[in-house]
C-alpha cells in the first residue's frame, strides 16, 4: 500500500487550487485557533500554516496557539463570542455539545460522495458524523498500547504477554525484581480511563463497551464487575506505581526512564518524551494490550484529533480551503512524520513515516483490530458520565475495596445522564 502512496505526488499548489475552485489564490483573512501548545506539535502546525501562507501570499492568516488544557475550557467562549474560522478539537462525543448548540459548521459538502475527502478519509467519517452530517475533518490519530522497557523484560527473561495470565505472571516477576509493572499519572483522570477502556474491551468486547457508552448497560452489571475484578488483580498485586493520584502523565514517565517501572499504557505521543528522556529504540518497545477473555475480538483505542469551522466564522471559504489542505495526502504525510507529530496520517494516500512505533501501531490498527476502533473513554462517553466514571476509576486505583460504593455512584449518574 505504501508504494502506491509514494507514487502519488500531488503538488501543494494543485491541492489548494482544487480545494477552492472559485479562486485559485485565496484573499482576505483566516483566523486559526490551535490547541497544539506542546513544542513539537506547535512547530509542526506553524510550519504547515507557513506553507499554506506561501501558497496564498495574499491571504492574511492569524494563528492563536492556546495551552492545551486551557483550550478545553476556552473553546465554548471563543466559539460563541469571538469565533475563529478554523479550530482544532476532538472527534465523536467531545464535539457533540458544540454541534448540538449550532456552534460548528456543517461541512458535509466536503465529505460528499465522489470527493477526494470521501475517498481518502473514509475510515474516520463515522467519528466526525453527528445526525448524519459531518462537522469537521480529522488531521491525526494515534494508537494506544503498552510501551515497555525491552531491556528490562530481557534481563528478567520475560516476553510480550499474549494473554492476561502472562500479563500477571510477567508482573509478578517484575515486582519480585523490586520494580513496578506499570507507571501511571492519574491526576487528570484520563490515564486511568485508558486502563478501563482496554480492560473492558478485552474482558467484554467492543460492542459491549459501546453499549455502555450509549448508556444501555448498568454499571453494577456483573460483566462490568468482571472488568473491575481484572483491574483489581493488578492493583492489589501492586502493579501500579504509588501515589499515582497526584501525578500528571508527564510526571509518570521518569519511572519508565530510570527503570523503576517496566511499562506504561499510553498513546503514541508518549514516545517522543520517552526518547528525549534518554531511552533508545533498543530499550523501548511496544506491544498490543493482551487478550483477556478468550474468543473476544481485539479492539483498540485510536483517538482522532480534528479541525472544525466555527458556525460564526467570517471566512468560511478560506476555512474550507485550509481544511482541504490539512487533510491532503502531502500535508498528512509531512504533519504526521516522526520529526513532527509522530502519529498516524488520516489520509489513506499519505505515507506512514518509517518509525518503529508508527509502523507497529499502523499494522495493529489496520490488521489486528478486528473488533473495532474506539475513540477514547472521554470521547465515546458523554461528558458528565465520563467525568463521574473517571473520578471513580481514580478512587478505585487507590482504594480498590471501595468498588461497590464507586459503582453505585457511577450508576446513579448513568441514570440521570441518559
Amino acid at each position: 500500500m505504501r508504494s502506491v502512496l509514494k507514487a502519488t505526488a500531488v503538488s501543494l499548489a494543485t491541492i489548494v487550487a482544487l480545494a477552492a475552485p472559485a479562486s485559485a489564490e485565496l484573499t482576505g483573512n483566516l483566523k486559526i485557533n490551535l490547541d497544539t501548545s506542546n513544542p513539537a506539535p506547535r512547530a509542526t502546525m506553524e510550519a504547515l500554516i507557513a506553507k499554506f501562507q506561501a501558497a496564498n501570499p495574499a491571504l492574511n492568516i492569524t494563528t492563536n496557539v492556546i495551552d492545551r488544557e486551557a483550550y478545553k475550557t476556552q473553546i465554548r467562549n471563543f466559539l460563541s463570542a469571538d469565533a475563529p474560522d478554523v479550530l482544532t478539537w476532538y472527534a465523536a462525543n467531545r464535539m457533540k455539545p458544540y454541534v448540538e448548540a449550532g456552534l460548528l459548521e456543517d461541512v458535509s459538502d466536503m465529505w460528499a460522495d465522489g470527493t477526494d475527502i470521501a475517498k481518502e478519509l473514509a475510515s474516520t467519517k463515522g467519528a466526525l458524523t453527528v445526525d448524519g452530517k459531518q462537522w469537521g475533518v480529522p488531521y491525526t490519530y494515534y494508537q494506544w498500547g503498552i510501551y515497555y522497557r525491552k531491556d528490562i523484560y530481557q534481563e528478567l527473561g520475560l516476553s510480550e504477554p499474549s494473554n492476561f495470565d502472562d500479563m500477571l505472571s510477567n508482573c509478578e516477576a517484575m515486582i519480585a525484581s523490586g520494580r513496578k509493572c506499570y507507571t501511571i499519572g492519574n491526576k487528570w483522570l484520563w490515564t486511568g480511563a485508558g486502563w478501563f477502556d482496554y480492560l473492558n474491551l478485552r474482558t467484554n468486547g467492543f460492542n459491549f463497551h459501546m453499549q455502555m457508552a450509549a448508556g444501555e448497560i448498568e454499571w453494577t452489571d456483573p460483566r462490568v464487575r468482571e472488568t473491575f475484578a481484572n483491574w483489581g488483580k493488578l492493583i492489589r498485586m501492586g502493579a501500579f506505581i504509588d501515589d499515582n493520584q497526584n501525578k500528571d502523565w508527564q510526571q509518570s514517565l521518569p519511572f519508565m526512564i530510570d527503570g523503576s517501572a517496566g511499562a506504561i499504557l499510553m498513546g503514541n505521543f508518549a514516545v517522543s518524551p520517552l526518547r528525549e528522556g534518554g531511552l533508545t529504540d533498543d530499550q523501548l518497545d511496544f506491544h498490543q494490550f493482551p487478550a483477556i477473555t478468550a474468543g473476544i475480538a481485539m479492539a483498540e483505542d485510536a483517538p482522532t484529533d480534528t479541525f472544525h469551522i466555527a458556525a460564526n466564522a467570517k471566512n468560511k471559504d478560506n476555512a474550507r480551503a485550509f481544511l482541504a489542505y490539512i487533510v491532503s495526502a502531502d500535508a498528512q504525510t509531512e504533519m504526521n512524520n516522526g520529526a513532527n507529530l509522530g502519529q498516524l496520517p488520516v489520509n489513506s494516500k499519505a505515507s506512514v513515516d518509517d518509525d518503529k512505533f508508527l509502523n507497529k501501531g499502523f499494522e495493529m490498527l489496520s490488521s489486528n483490530s478486528p473488533g473495532g476502533v474506539a475513540q477514547f473513554f472521554d470521547r465515546d462517553f458523554p461528558a458528565e458520565m465520563a467525568q463521574a466514571a473517571m473520578e471513580g476509576f481514580q478512587e478505585f486505583m487507590i482504594y480498590p475495596d471501595n468498588l461497590d460504593d464507586i459503582l453505585d455512584r457511577i450508576e446513579g449518574v448513568r441514570k440521570e445522564v441518559y
Partner: protein, 308 residues
C-alpha cells in the same frame, strides 16, 4: 430665560442632596450591571436545565426547583464541598492570630526592619498560582521537603495532597501562608496608630506581656481585627485558585469547595450543566450573604455610634 432660572434655582436649592448622588451614579450603574443583575440572572438560570451553549431561551428547559432538590438531597459531592468550605472557614481564621503575632514581632525599630517586613509580606504579593505550585512541590511524596522534615522527626512519609482525608488541610495550609502576610500588614498599620501614651500609662500601672496585649493593645486594634476577619472569611469562601492548581479538586473530588464544584459542573472540560452550576452559585451566594450582612450591620452600627 425664566425656566432656566427656575431650574437653576431648583438645583441650587437641592445641591447638597443631589451632588453626592451624581458622584455615585457611575459607580451604581457599574454595580448594577456587573453585580446586581448577574445575581438575578444566576437565580433565573438555576431554574433551568441548560448546557451553557446556545441561548437559554431556545436550548434551556425550565425545571423549577429540581436543581436545588438534587443538590440538597442526592448529591454527595455537594455535601463534601460544603463541608470543605466549613473547614476552610474555620482553619483559615488561624491566619488572624498568626498575622498578629508576626506583626507584634516585627513592630520594632532595628536596622533593616523594612527589609524583614517586606520579606514577610512577600507571599501575599506573589500570585496564588505560584504559592500553589511551591506547596505542591513541598508536599511531593517522593522529593518534597515536607516528607524530608517529618521523616527527620521520625514520622512515616505522607502523601498529603493524594490522601482524601488530608488534601483539604494541605491546601488550607498553603492558603494560610499568603493570608497570614495579609493579616500581618493590616495589624502593622493598626499598630502604628496605637496610642503610645496609653501604653505608657498602662506600663506605669504595672501591665505587662499578655495582660498588656489583651487589655490595652488589642482593644485599640479592633478596627484592624475586624477588617482582617472580614477579608479572611470572604477569602476562605472564595478559595479556588489553590485548589485548582494543587489538587484539581481531587483525589476523587475530596478537596472540592463550592466555588470549585460550581466551576467543574458548569464551565470545566466535562461540565455542561450551567443550570446546576448556577444553583450551586446561588447557595454559595446565600452563605456569603449571611456573613456580608453581618459585616454591613456591624459597620452600620459603628458608624451610628461614632456619628452620634
Amino acid at each position: 430665560m425664566n425656566t432656566t432660572l427656575v431650574k437653576q434655582n431648583w438645583y441650587k436649592r437641592n445641591e447638597i442632596a443631589i451632588t453626592p448622588w451624581l458622584f455615585l451614579v457611575p459607580g451604581l450603574i457599574m454595580f448594577a450591571i456587573y453585580v446586581v443583575f448577574p445575581i438575578f440572572q444566576s437565580f433565573r438560570i438555576s431554574l433551568f436545565k441548560w448546557d451553557g451553549l446556545g441561548s437559554l431561551a431556545t436550548h434551556g428547559e425550565y425545571i423549577g426547583m429540581a436543581n436545588y432538590e438534587k443538590l440538597l438531597t442526592r448529591d454527595r459531592s455537594f455535601n463534601i464541598s460544603l463541608w470543605n468550605n466549613l473547614k476552610w472557614l474555620v482553619f483559615y481564621l488561624a491566619s488572624i492570630p498568626a498575622g498578629l503575632f508576626i506583626a507584634l514581632f516585627l513592630n520594632q525599630t532595628v536596622r533593616g526592619i523594612r527589609l524583614y517586613k517586606s520579606l514577610f509580606f512577600f507571599p501575599f504579593v506573589i500570585s496564588q498560582i505560584v504559592v500553589g505550585l511551591v506547596f505542591t512541590w513541598f508536599y511531593d511524596p517522593q522529593y518534597g521537603l515536607f516528607n524530608g522534615i517529618i521523616g527527620f522527626v521520625g514520622f512515616k512519609p505522607l502523601n498529603v495532597l493524594g490522601d482524601p482525608t488530608l488534601s483539604t488541610y494541605g491546601v488550607i495550609a498553603a492558603g494560610l501562608w499568603p493570608q497570614t502576610a495579609y493579616c500581618m500588614i493590616l495589624y502593622l498599620t493598626g499598630l502604628n496608630s496605637v496610642d503610645p501614651e496609653q501604653t505608657e500609662a498602662a506600663r506605669l500601672d504595672g501591665a505587662k506581656g499578655i495582660k498588656m496585649l489583651w487589655h490595652v493593645i488589642l482593644p485599640q486594634l479592633r478596627p484592624a481585627t475586624f477588617i482582617a476577619f472580614v477579608v479572611t472569611v470572604i477569602g476562605s469562601l472564595r478559595s479556588f485558585d489553590l485548589i485548582s492548581i494543587m489538587t484539581n479538586g481531587g483525589p476523587f473530588g475530596s478537596s472540592r469547595v463550592l466555588s470549585f464544584y460550581m466551576f467543574e459542573k458548569s464551565l470545566s472540560e466535562y461540565g455542561f450543566k450551567m443550570g446546576y452550576g448556577a444553583a450551586i452559585a446561588v447557595i454559595l451566594f446565600l452563605i456569603m450573604m449571611v456573613f456580608i450582612g453581618y459585616f454591613l450591620w456591624r459597620m452600620y452600627q459603628d458608624e451610628k455610634a461614632t456619628n452620634g
